[in-house]
Symmetry: C2
Subunit: 275 residues, 2 copies
């Protein structure tokens, strides 16, 4: 029905006449997008054999996970699973309830990507949850890439997956990486062998694009970047403690003290647990 070399007008007329559904037309427009635009995680996306498990949990920071998820969706050709104890909705720190698509028990062992998002109180709770740590430790043994954004790195750490690795996390929690035997590195994305960790929340986009370059190639990553129009233009210069200045960053550091104490306690607990 659609032939190469048609003018816009001819094409529009052909589309109008086609009687095809919106979804069917979208499939003509971009097979990868239409792929993503059907039911959750359709079989076609499993073509490459690549599989990702993205941990979801109550009070996680939604954007930590949705940034990389959207980038991987743009890449296509990877099975994307949102994994939790059950398929009951989990309420994220933004109040948005997400429905997990797979349980820990059903998660395949031959993962291409294991991913942990961060958060604040919810992440500390997860660091003290043996079911979460067992899942991460077990899946992390065989996953091709073991990854995180933000304080998701502390979850990897509590599961024993960062010992001896360079890593990064949210700037507020950066120093605590050493509690898990990791070497904290100040960088937006840190790659050390098969561990890839991103800085706080919004770093999930930068992390995701690095991951696409590793899973496929730079050309594909650039293509996804353009589709997401990721040409960031923050209206303010305040995205790091250095840029924001002490007036903004110091109160945050101070308010974090009790959480840091809880992170230290969770680190100790997880160390004992693994011993």
């Amino acid at each position: 029905m659609l032939e190469p070399g048609m003018t816009r007008r001819e094409l529009a007329a052909a589309v109008a006449k086609s009687g095809l559904s919106v979804a069917a037309l979208a499939a003509l427009a971009d097979p990868a997008a239409a792929d993503a635009a059907s039911t959750p995680f359709p079989a076609e996306r499993q073509g490459s054999g690549m599989k990702a498990a993205l941990l979801v949990y109550p009070q996680m920071t939604a954007l930590d996970m949705v940034g990389p998820l959207q980038v991987l969706t743009g890449m296509g050709r990877i099975e994307l699973n949102l994994v939790w104890k059950s398929k009951q909705p989990v309420v994220t720190d933004s109040g948005m309830p997400i429905v997990p698509t797979m349980t820990f028990d059903d998660c395949p062992k031959d993962l291409t990507v294991l991913f942990a998002p961060g958060g604040s109180a919810g992440t500390i709770a997860a660091m003290n949850d043996d079911a979460v740590l067992d899942f991460l430790a077990d899946s992390g043994k065989s996953a091709k890439y073991v990854t995180s954004v933000c304080t998701g790195a502390l979850l990897l750490g509590a599961a024993g997956l960062l010992k001896g690795y360079r890593a990064t996390t949210h700037w507020l929690a950066h120093d605590t990486l050493s509690l898990f035997g990791a070497t904290p590195v100040k960088s937006r994305v840190v790659e050390d062998r098969n561990r890839i960790t991103g800085a706080g929340v919004s770093a999930g986009l930068d992390f995701g694009l690095r991951l696409v370059a590793l899973l496929q190639n730079e050309q594909r990553a650039k293509s996804v970047q353009l589709m997401l129009e990721y040409d960031p233009q923050p209206p303010f210069r305040a995205g790091s403690p250095e840029l924001a200045g002490k007036e903004i960053s110091d109160p945050m550091r101070r308010s974090l003290e009790p959480a840091l104490a809880m992170i230290r306690a969770a680190a100790k607990r997880s160390e004992k647990r693994r011993a």
Copy 2:
């Protein structure tokens, strides 16, 4: 229990002794965060009287909405509602199912922010859905700010909300804004009176921070930016057609032809509908 001037060690000991729950400790650490970290959209967040309705719909682009949602969560003091026809989960283009928290029928009329996210096939379907257009047109009459990210602008346009306004959308659909009587402006975020529109997908972060500056002030926006560590460092320079070059952008433009035809058809239909 916690007193100013305690050392980290004293604080850690006090926390360990406190017996408080993680959530309660988080509340001490950061009242705004703890607020966000309880049940969805708790009453406390309604203190300011500000209310946002974020449209959700099948096959929407998840990140279009989650970027602004996370920024507004960081701002706090605003009631955030994910609005759809029913409270059945909607599956986004990333495959992630989101549970709407409010129906069109229950949505308050005195909104501070009405927001529409974009997508591809799902957005075109929504542009042809009278229930969606009625909800947007009706809510948009009284909302303090009428906003969108990405092709969410086409939904606002189809609802008649952009006629005579300057606006932006995803670069691929930019020209189509004129079909709705809007003036397309090439800018990351476009503000024209109470219409605020963002460019493609990832522009939701830049848009969200501008919105926080308007709803509260620049200091608060910078604070949120730091909490989200939004100091973007894309690994590639390919976030606009100019940066990516024709080799990457031209195939995308060509593959979009059928979708453009559908957008034109939806624009015509919506114009007739409003006449």
